[in-house]
């Protein structure tokens, strides 16, 4: 039947568009590596790659739960402050003589509670997460400054700093990369291979239908914010370890990079679509780009501009591509959009 042939073609085209987005990322990655190589002979060395990866691992780690949250149709802007708060508490506790492993446990619990706060206000209060987490972005940072003040704590034991700084024995792979890999693997399976992930997509695409289908929307929303808070704390711990210093302003500005990475990875800012592999590719792209810019002695200000442009482009390009595609489809089918709104209007004379 000709009527049913068209949708199948649509689906194929949609799939190919998705494939193209990730293909695009791979091409961009290759382009950036080539560019980096021309900029500096030092660029294409294992040591440099190890460094450029290590430099972005906190962002990459926080981007994993952020992917799920944005697919869900929400956002968590507070992650960088939670990382800062974690760093501050860890430093404070260590300086006060508390064993480090206790400090780490406390910090992860704090992260979970911070996420719970975000999640409850968003899911129970029905408030936009953009506003709620903007509030907690300031709240957590303020708390961090109260806990630690302007000072830094830096006399951490060697084993702790070795974790952030060192490599897996016999390789140049930074330890934090292994954390990222594990997280990407687990959350990738959760999002793409379990029914929890399916429910996350359903909520992102149509929260009413999800709720009417018995999906526990509130529970999933709250859980993901808790996860995001905990992972942000983990990132704060890794950051403290890598810099061998706990500071209240740790992680400042990271949310921007996290959001950029997730959106560049092809996650729809309005929720409902996106992949973990796409975001992982975007992590590599941004890491290489930042490294190349640094090797080219581009100033921090210009680097920030580049990142901002990347964020905007990664939202704008798919949107325009989608609009162009649906306009094309409509023109081809020569049929107006569904008239459901009209049917409903008529039903209540």
């Amino acid at each position: 039947m000709s009527m049913t042939a068209a949708p199948a073609r649509d689906q194929r085209r949609w799939m190919s568009l998705l494939a193209r987005w990730e293909t695009l990322l791979v091409l961009a990655l290759i382009g950036l590596i080539v560019l980096g190589t021309t900029l500096s002979p030092f660029f294409l060395t294992a040591g440099n790659f190890s460094n450029l990866i290590a430099a972005l691992m906190e962002v990459a780690i926080m981007a994993m739960p952020m992917t799920l949250i944005i697919v869900l149709g929400e956002i968590d802007l507070s992650v960088e402050s939670m990382a800062g708060l974690s760093s501050a508490i860890l430093g404070f506790l260590w300086a006060a003589g508390v064993p480090l492993w206790v400090g780490i446990a406390v910090v992860l619990v704090v992260g979970a509670f911070g996420g719970l706060l975000n999640g409850l206000i968003v899911a129970r209060g029905g408030l936009p997460s953009l506003v709620v987490t903007l509030g907690t972005l300031a709240l957590f940072r303020g708390m961090a400054l109260i806990v630690l003040g302007p000072r830094g704590v830096s006399d951490f034991p060697d084993w702790f700093t070795a974790f952030g700084f060192g490599h897996v024995p016999g390789t140049l792979i930074p330890w934090p990369f292994m954390v990222f890999l594990a997280l990407a693997l687990v959350l990738g399976i959760v999002l793409h291979r379990t029914w929890i992930g399916r429910q996350v997509f359903a909520i992102g695409k149509n929260p009413s239908t999800a709720r009417f289908s018995g999906v526990r929307v509130t529970r999933i929303r709250v859980s993901l914010f808790v996860l995001s808070g905990m992972v942000a704390s983990l990132a704060g711990i890794i950051l403290t370890s890598r810099l061998s210093s706990a500071r209240a302003d740790a992680g400042s500005g990271m949310t921007l990079t996290v959001a950029t990475v997730v959106l560049l990875g092809g996650v729809n800012i309005f929720g409902g679509s996106g992949t973990i592999p796409g975001v992982a590719l975007a992590v590599l792209c941004v890491a290489v780009m930042q490294n190349a810019l640094r090797l080219a002695s581009v100033t921090v200000e210009v680097q920030s501009i580049a990142l901002g442009l990347l964020l905007i482009l990664s939202v704008v390009i798919p949107t325009f591509a989608h609009q162009a595609k649906s306009a094309l489809d409509r023109a081809r089918r020569g049929r107006p959009p569904p008239a459901d709104s009209i049917a409903r209007g008529e039903a209540a004379p």
Binding site: W195, I196, A339, P349
Partner: protein, 534 residues
């Protein structure tokens, strides 16, 4: 000062060629996708007449109002205003032609004052083009004096009653020197006293030559207020007559006299009570609702939109919470905090809004069908596409969904097939009670017959079914028993054999029953039991 000059009231039936109607509609048609909302409709609105417009849900009243208000444009037909051919291009144009619409729920700015709302967009200007606030206030005051209504024009609109807000809309139409006033279901949320006040004002406006189109479900009001009445049915004009030549029974007969070929319901033995509801109340929505549903039984919920039928369903499915009352599921008292709890207890709800609540449009058929049962289907978290496809296949096959395969995106299916996917989805959850809210709305006749066949078969398989429908012939043909809702209460319970369109419509419009002693709201299964035995 802003009222139109008083015109001699025209006797409603004294239509002569010398006085052209204020509005003359000829052959108006309007089509929305698959739905022919209006077909070749003609209507005259005379100067100084109050003209009632009645019809069932979906008769085309709203579409006509929207065409006059400039929201929609007619596909064909002519509109004459005072004898002059006109086209209404948009809402602003409609207003400038002197047409004002007062909606059931007025669309005002709650934080602006009464005077500001009346004059929004056309406030008297002072020097330098600034708004003359003093003048605005004084003119608003004089408008309300002419209406003989006490309102503080400096108070914000927020907090005013619906009735007062409607009067502000009317005052606004006067300030625009409207010659045509359309009242779209104005009395639905008004008290008896407020209705009387509204009528007094409408009569006063009629005396000044304003033409009023009064759209209402309440037939007694049409008789009390209107000079003439027009009945629409299925987008067509049925009759226009002077109200003094009409009776309520005539009007109801004109409203309902439609037949649709339907799948004949399979007679099914009716089993035990599955669901028993008593005294169910949600303040402001419905009160003291009591009924029962038995295995194999289809209980029809008839009534007009907003009568409380969907609201009852939402409480039964755990979407909203009740204030009072009891729900027994297979004899056990239940209360659901969420749809997922209701689902686990064996209740399924096919929602009214297929697109927004029933389906995820860009999920595949398989993904939609398995959405409610994912945790049960995959207890070890990991999904298996083959399992999903098998389940989806089983249920879509049973309902003969026309598709290329279960991997097709739902959004690319026709309305009827989409609805079958929603049904498949709920059947896959293996419910005991299935609530269907407007299951055939907006789908073509062929699909409709199929959906009816499915509903009938489901009942035969032992499900208890609640069928909410505004489509009278459908409710009559499919239901074993019909409960009629009117303004949040069950006003009649009519067994299958005794149900006629007239009886249901009388109960649904709150008109006094003519031929029968009023059926008492049924409390539980007692009444049905008598019927079964008898």
């Amino acid at each position: 000062m802003t009222l139109p000059p008083p015109a001699p009231p025209v006797a409603p039936d004294a239509v002569t060629a010398s006085t052209p109607p204020r509005i003359e509609l000829r052959g108006i048609s309007k089509r929305f996708a698959a739905t022919q909302a209006l077909e070749d409709v003609s209507l005259d609105l005379l100067p100084g007449e109050v003209h009632g417009l009645v019809g069932e849900n979906g008769a085309g009243k709203s579409t006509l109002v929207k065409i006059l208000a400039g929201v929609h444009q007619a596909d064909s037909g002519t509109i004459r205003l005072d004898g002059e051919a006109t086209q209404i291009h948009g809402p602003a144009h409609s207003r400038s032609l002197g047409i004002a619409v007062v909606h059931q729920e007025p669309r005002l700015f709650p934080d602006l004052t009464v005077a500001e709302n009346v004059f929004i967009g056309h406030a008297p200007s002072g020097r330098l083009g600034s708004i003359d606030w003093g003048g605005t206030r004084r003119r608003a005051e004089s408008l309300f004096r002419e209406l003989d209504v006490q309102v503080d024009v400096g108070a914000p609109v927020r907090g005013l009653s619906m009735a007062d807000q409607q009067l502000i809309e009317i005052a606004k139409s006067l300030s625009l020197e409207a010659r045509v006033l359309i009242l779209d279901e104005p009395t639905a949320s008004l008290s008896a006293h407020e209705v009387e006040r509204l009528f007094t004002i409408v009569r006063r406006l009629r005396g000044r030559g304003v033409s009023v189109l009064f759209v209402s479900h309440r037939l007694d009001e049409v008789f009390a207020l209107c000079d003439r009445a027009t009945v629409f049915r299925d987008g067509r004009h049925v009759v226009t007559m002077a109200t003094r030549d009409l009776t309520t029974a005539d009007l109801v007969r004109h409203m309902v006299g439609r037949t649709v070929s339907l799948f004949p319901k399979v007679e099914t033995p009716i089993g035990d009570v599955l669901l028993a509801v008593s005294g169910l109340t949600k303040v402001g929505e419905f009160r003291d609702v009591g009924f029962s549903v038995r295995a194999g039984e289809i209980v029809g919920f008839a009534g007009l939109v907003g009568a409380g039928r969907t609201e009852v369903a939402r409480v039964l499915f755990g979407i909203d919470q009740r204030d009072r009352g009891q729900v027994l599921l297979a004899g056990v008292p239940v209360s659901f905090a969420s749809p997922s709890a209701a689902m686990h207890a064996g209740i399924a709800y096919l929602p009214e809004d297929r697109h927004q609540e029933g389906l995820v449009q860009d999920f595949t058929i398989a993904q939609n069908v398995t959405l409610p049962i994912l945790p049960r289907l995959f207890p070890r978290l990991l999904t298996r596409i083959s399992t999903e496809r098998k389940v989806a296949h089983e249920f879509t096959e049973q309902l003969s969904v026309r598709m290329t395969g279960v991997d097709q995106l739902v959004g690319s299916l026709s309305g009827g097939n989409q609805q079958k996917v929603v049904l498949a989805k709920w059947l896959a959850s293996r419910p005991r009670i299935l609530i269907l809210d407007e299951p055939t709305r907006g789908i073509d006749i062929g699909a409709k017959v199929e959906v009816h066949r499915i509903i009938s078969e489901l009942a035969a398989s032992g499900l208890g079914i609640i069928l909410i429908s505004s489509d009278l012939p459908e409710v009559l043909a499919m239901s074993d028993r019909i409960l009629v809702f009117h303004e949040g209460k069950i006003t009649a319970e009519i067994p299958r054999g005794q149900a006629t369109q007239e009886r249901v419509m009388f109960a649904a419009t709150g008109s006094a029953t003519v031929d029968e002693p009023a059926a008492a709201p049924a409390a539980g299964g007692v009444q049905s039991e008598q019927r079964l035995d008898g």
